[in-house]
């Protein structure tokens, strides 16, 4: 009897985010049947696709018991440079003197540039964390300010807007009927990340470093390089997010992605990844991202103000972590 009860609690703990998601969907559907329309569902996914994309990278970071607060700022910087180069590099030329107009109109180069900037940003922060020994919280808090400042400086505060259809396809386009392109990008990278974490040596090492860094080092793992790598990964996703967001909004601004770090970290944590490292999954992060999207969307359909939405999301983060710890405590007792 007793052991069965505990098994139920354990199962509940494992699938809690997913069950909560289903419950929300049922509630919102009963309150407003329009919620379940395919168009609305694709809309929800599209809305979370960019924070979700970055949350995939953040999952790697949090699995190693790290954190990255700079993702929103890095996204803005990468998005700006990418948009500017695509449009002929007016700001780039003003700042650095070099003429890059030859790169204009090439989406591949613009997107690659965004990702390179993200990777470089992550690399610098990763080096600061692993070589200088400054806690990740502090390094990336600095990064949050530095990258935002760099973005403002780069664009002189103004937006870079209006791209052609080729560029905007990546943020606004649809394939296979109603499926938004950003959703495809999000889910495709989620699958790749899931495979890496579950089936490769690298993934195993990420869990090991997060679970017990000393044991990992004594087992011959290069713990510094591993930790460095997760900041590069999250930087890559922030850069990619910058490109997709500018395409989706048909505009790139230095203030883009403001506050994204909250949503991104919330997606990972609500999805069941432990802030202490070593436990969690990309699958959970996808569920966590969608959950936040459903919540936002459902509250809009119920005419709840966007201010209240922020309050709700904040409470849910705390509740999710509390629930996780409650489950663990119940399993032990």
């Amino acid at each position: 009897m007793n052991s069965r009860r505990i098994d139920v609690i354990r199962l509940l703990g494992q699938f809690a985010p997913f069950l909560f998601l289903i419950a929300l969907v049922l509630i919102f559907t009963s309150l407003n049947p329009r919620f379940l329309l395919p168009l609305n569902l694709w809309n929800i996914l599209r809305q979370v696709s960019i924070t979700g994309l970055i949350a995939i990278g953040m999952t790697f970071v949090i699995l190693t018991a790290g954190i990255d607060l700079s993702v929103g700022s890095l996204l803005a910087l990468a998005g700006l440079v990418c948009a500017d180069i695509y449009k002929g590099g007016e700001f780039f030329t003003r700042l650095f003197g070099a003429d890059v107009s030859g790169l204009a109109g090439n989406v591949a180069i613009a997107a690659a540039l965004a990702m390179i900037i993200g990777v470089l940003g992550g690399l610098i922060q990763g080096i600061a964390v692993t070589r200088l020994g400054v806690p990740a919280f502090v390094v990336t808090l600095g990064g949050l300010s530095v990258f935002r400042g760099a973005a403002l400086q780069y664009s002189n505060g103004g937006p870079i807007s209006t791209f052609d259809a080729t560029y905007n396809f990546w943020g606004q386009g649809k394939v296979l009927g109603d499926v938004p392109v950003p959703v495809i990008i999000f889910l495709a990278f989620a699958v790749v990340a899931h495979i890496i974490l579950r089936y490769t040596r690298y993934g195993r090492h990420v869990y090991a470093v997060g679970g017990n860094i000393e044991a990992a080092r004594l087992s011959g793992l290069n713990t510094r390089r591993l930790i460095l790598s997760v900041y590069v990964i999250v930087g890559f996703f922030a850069g990619l997010g910058g490109f997709v967001l500018s395409s989706r909004l048909n505009s790139s601004e230095a203030v883009a992605g403001n506050g994204y770090e909250l949503t991104v970290i919330a997606s990972v944590v609500i999805g069941g990844t432990s802030l202490f490292g070593g436990r969690g999954s990309v699958l959970g992060t996808v569920v966590g991202s969608v959950l936040i999207g459903v919540l936002n969307n459902g509250l809009v359909l119920m005419n709840v103000s966007s201010y209240v939405q922020q309050i709700v999301i904040g409470c849910i983060i705390v509740l999710a972590v509390w629930f996780d710890q409650f489950i663990k405590a119940r399993q032990k007792r």
Binding site: N2, S3, I6, D7, R10, Y199, T200, R201, Y202, R204, H205, Y207, A208, G211, N212, E214, A215, A216, R217, L218, S219, G220, L221, N222, G278, R279, R333
Partner: protein, 509 residues
């Protein structure tokens, strides 16, 4: 004498296992009561119920004659039941005084009275014969000293029953003496002690009464005068001591695997517990088990970690298989064929949240890969299964969380991790700390087998009987210097103790 504590017909089940069935424990006032049993016998569960960590499924607890239910650790402490766990619960950056009176600091309102805090702490410590300054931060103390602080805290809480869970496992012989003396003092003050240990000699030395658990049931209870060591072992494992492992032959060859010359490390200001090494030189040969004996803090672990590349060393030369080598990280050491089984399994070796399979294969994963570093799960499972059989690792399945295994089986997983690397040299630091008698014998047999296969083994241990029964050759170390070298035949506990504990002991050969 009257009973201060009676636990009657205690039952407790966990998922898939009945941890305790109808267990009874009676402790008299002013009694040192040994609670014995193999790992997994239910000792820890029983004590956690007493401490208010777990709730029993059924049963009754009588404390001081009254029936009580203990819902929280806080409540247990208020009643006067204090548990000193194997993993200490001290706050490292606070002083001894703050730790002793944590949560009960003397003062006015929100303000702390440092003077009274210091004086009251000193009074408690004087009662225990401890001479440390109450204002020392706990992080600057040795393991043994930290334990004294835990005991001082327990004493200051007006405890009636103090539970000590494996109190001597991290102590050297000399420190064990001190601790046992303190236990006798506490007993004289009318305090009861429940003493959980795997060290049966200590039980014979200090306990008045023993209770033995086996598989979650009472296996026997008797005054110490009525039992012998053999009786106790029989109660614990259902077999006699003569079946425990004894080495029959040496496999040492003349071929030197590792040679260390003049290894020196500097003192670390951030970690005063770390002993500086002042010129350690030795070599170990193929198939040899080299025992390194020393008190806690003598520099044994520091030497092992420096050789393995886990810590930097200032000066020294290491030769491996005849070639000078530079080992800058554990990875370098592993590539040469050196493995380290660290002293603290949970902190330094295991990934407690991961499965047995993942723990076992972590170092050898490089040999189990497809293209672009995909893990070959079939090969991994085969490998784990091979070592499960070879080492007789008892687990419910490869995907069981390693944290749920008993200490002995966890240690086997760590050993298997290195065997999978086919090492040439294995450094084992306290290989049988905190594991039960039967598993200990298995680990010893395993080490013997590895030596017979030509692996050189450096075995560090605080337990002299272990050193004496396993080693081909023994080095003693004291304050970062080697103080003696003994062949197995010429070593005795007394001679080793002299070399380990007395200053001015000169190296003999």
């Amino acid at each position: 004498m009257t009973a201060i504590l009676e636990m009657r017909s205690i039952n407790k089940a966990f998922p898939g296992v009945q941890a305790l069935s109808e267990v009874t424990l009676t402790v008299e006032r002013g009694q040192i009561h040994g609670l014995l049993g193999e790992n997994g016998a239910g000792k820890s569960t029983l004590m956690k119920i007493l401490a208010g960590v777990y709730a029993p499924d059924s049963g009754e607890i009588l404390f001081d004659g009254a029936s009580v239910s203990i819902a929280t650790p806080h409540q247990a402490q208020q009643m006067g039941i204090v548990t000193i766990y194997q993993e200490f619960t001290l706050v490292p950056h606070l002083t001894i005084a703050e730790n002793v009176f944590i949560g009960r600091e003397p003062g006015v309102g929100a303000f702390l009275s440092w003077g009274r805090l210091r004086d009251q702490t000193r009074a408690v410590m004087d009662g225990l014969g401890i001479t440390l300054d109450p204002m020392t931060p706990v992080s600057a103390l040795s393991v043994a000293e930290q334990q004294m602080v835990e005991i001082a805290r327990a004493l200051s809480m007006q405890s009636k029953v103090i539970v000590m869970d494996e109190p001597t496992s991290a102590l050297s012989e000399h420190e064990v003496h001190q601790l046992l003396d303190i236990c006798r003092d506490l007993k004289a003050k009318g305090i009861s002690i429940i003493f959980i240990t795997h060290h049966l000699e200590e039980v014979m030395r200090v306990c008045d009464h023993i209770t033995v658990l086996r598989d979650g049931r009472n296996a026997g209870s008797a005054p110490i005068g009525d039992v012998t060591l053999d009786n106790i072992i029989q109660m614990m494992v259902g077999r006699s001591a003569s079946e425990l492992f004894k080495r029959t032959q040496s496999y040492a060859t003349a071929e030197t695997v590792l040679s260390v010359r003049d290894l020196r490390t500097a003192a670390d200001p951030n970690n005063p517990n770390k002993t500086a090494l002042h010129g350690i030189s030795f070599e170990v040969r193929r198939g040899e088990i080299l025992g390194i004996a020393g008190l806690i803090g003598a520099g044994r672990t520091e030497a092992a970690r420096a050789i393995f590349g886990a810590d930097r060393f200032e000066h020294g030369a290491i030769t491996f298989e005849g070639k000078p080598v530079a080992i800058r990280s554990p990875l370098d050491a592993i590539r040469l064929g050196i493995g380290l089984i660290p002293e603290d399994r949970k902190q330094q070796a295991l990934f407690l949240a991961l499965a047995v399979r993942e723990n076992l294969s972590i170092a050898a994963l490089g040999r189990l890969l497809h293209w672009i570093n995909f893990v070959r799960f079939d090969a991994e499972r085969q490998m784990v299964e091979r070592y499960r059989q070879a080492l007789n690792i008892r687990m419910s399945g490869q995907d069981q969380t390693v944290g749920n295994l008993s200490g002995g089986n966890q240690q086997k997983v760590v050993i298997a991790r290195w065997l999978a690397m086919e090492p040439k040299l294995l450094i084992v630091d306290e290989p049988t700390r905190g594991i039960d008698v039967a598993a200990k014998a298995e680990v010893h047999q395993l080490l013997d087998e590895l030596a017979s296969r030509g692996i050189a083994i450096v075995m560090i241990s605080s337990e002299l009987p272990e050193i004496l029964s396993m080693s081909d050759r023994i080095l003693t170390i004291r304050e970062g210097r080697l103080t003696g070298e003994f062949q197995r035949a010429e070593a005795t506990e007394e001679r080793l103790m002299q070399a380990m504990a007395l200053s001015g002991a000169s190296a003999s050969s």
